[in-house]
Point group: C2
Chain length 245, copies 2
């Protein structure tokens, strides 16, 4: 490597970081081809094998995909359900899931509770952005999201962006160059709280409904936690399915 021996990081890690930054900066758009492994190797003064190792890790991380004989491409940003999670019929693991329609409900501000401040490594009562959105399947509400983001990091967030089709993760990538990665998720069964029941259209006689409550913590590629998401799912006839590695 010509220059970048500044840090005592392995060369492939430096290459990976550099590519990560250039992808984040939008140098290549989704489904654009990167330069070939040899071109990158020349350009960065590393060998093809070293570049290949860096690219492989980015492929494993889901940021790139490869096609033999063609090239290496920028992968689309995963939607708000991630690459591996879907809502399908309980017990049927091979079922093709139906598409969910996203409905943006609102963008507001609030202050971090103690738990959330700790998880996001913020001070208590730190300002947060709250994004609410509803998921519908065949027109019926099936899930409700509360997405909490550190307000200082995402200053200038515009509700109009969130009405678009990109979802929260897509918007963060496009507007702020931040790519989130799920760190940890918690699942619980709860009786659906009143406010959420109302938003999910569960009212009247059948008000006492159990709901799947998902808590998600996500971080950027450097590991800085940036998202706390709470999702209520109606799993009366559906199951929250996660495919493993």
């Amino acid at each position: 490597m010509t220059v970048n021996a500044l840090k005592r990081q392995p060369l492939y890690a430096q290459v990976k970081l550099l590519l990560l930054q250039r992808i984040g900066a939008g140098e290549w758009q989704t489904h654009d081809a990167l330069p070939s492994e040899w071109e990158l190797a020349d350009e960065l003064g590393a060998s093809q094998g070293t570049v290949r190792k860096a690219l492989s890790e980015l492929v494993d991380a889901g940021l790139l995909y490869r096609q033999q004989g063609r090239g290496t491409y920028v992968a689309p940003v995963p939607g708000d359900w991630g690459d591996d999670a879907r809502l399908v019929t309980p017990g049927l693991f091979t079922e093709q899931p139906d598409e969910l329609a996203r409905e943006f409900l609102g963008l507001s501000r609030l202050n971090a509770s103690e738990d959330i401040a700790e998880a996001l490594q913020l001070r208590r009562l730190a300002p947060l952005l709250r994004i609410r959105q509803l998921w519908r399947r065949h027109g019926s509400p099936v899930a409700l999201d509360d997405v909490l983001l550190p307000a200082e990091v995402f200053e200038g967030m515009d509700a109009r962006w969130l009405r678009g089709s990109a979802g929260v993760y897509g918007t963060l990538q496009q507007r702020f160059g931040v790519r989130l990665k799920i760190v940890s998720e918690q699942f619980r069964a709860e009786m659906l709280p009143r406010e959420e029941a109302s938003l999910l259209g569960v009212t009247g006689m059948v008000a006492d409904v159990p709901a799947l409550c998902l808590l998600r913590l996500s971080a950027d590629m450097d590991g800085r936690p940036l998202e706390w998401r709470q999702r209520y799912c109606l799993t009366h006839q559906l199951a929250y399915t996660v495919k493993h590695g």
Copy 2:
């Protein structure tokens, strides 16, 4: 490579498969060191880099672990909760989880329902082994497992083995040389059924309790589905936490 060019598999894949078989056969025990990368390379007639690639994939798959400067070792078989799942306090992602005690309840036989037969790629009504076990935290029941396995594959299963500390996955590894890997999991919120409520010690006035219902499909390293597990978790004060890769 000297001989093994039989299949049109890459050499590293053949090496990986060979090591997988030798590990499964018990050639090395848990925490035993494998031969060094160079020794394996000599022995198998491959280069160190090729052996390294095979080992790396086994490390990624969780079967081996490495210690720089020391060696490569056989990883312990993960417990019935997997490497990444725990029960912790909701909202606290960094909490150290308390240990769960496992209580074997029984081994019985039944015939596969349609769903299960399909998921396990068996004929309808195929015979299954059913293992029931209870999980306690600080003495209180918190989860109940029904593990269903194809009876023909695990003929000779002995209840005494399952009383031991190895758990289901440990027993399958030790007694049958089969290592399972979680393929997919489904989460739902349900009202706890009567039978499960009774086993979990939820009785009387507070009988109407929501429970987290987990459905898990696992396969061996060749991808053959071999386990259908249903788990009810009491998530009143706990959350089922999954760490992501």
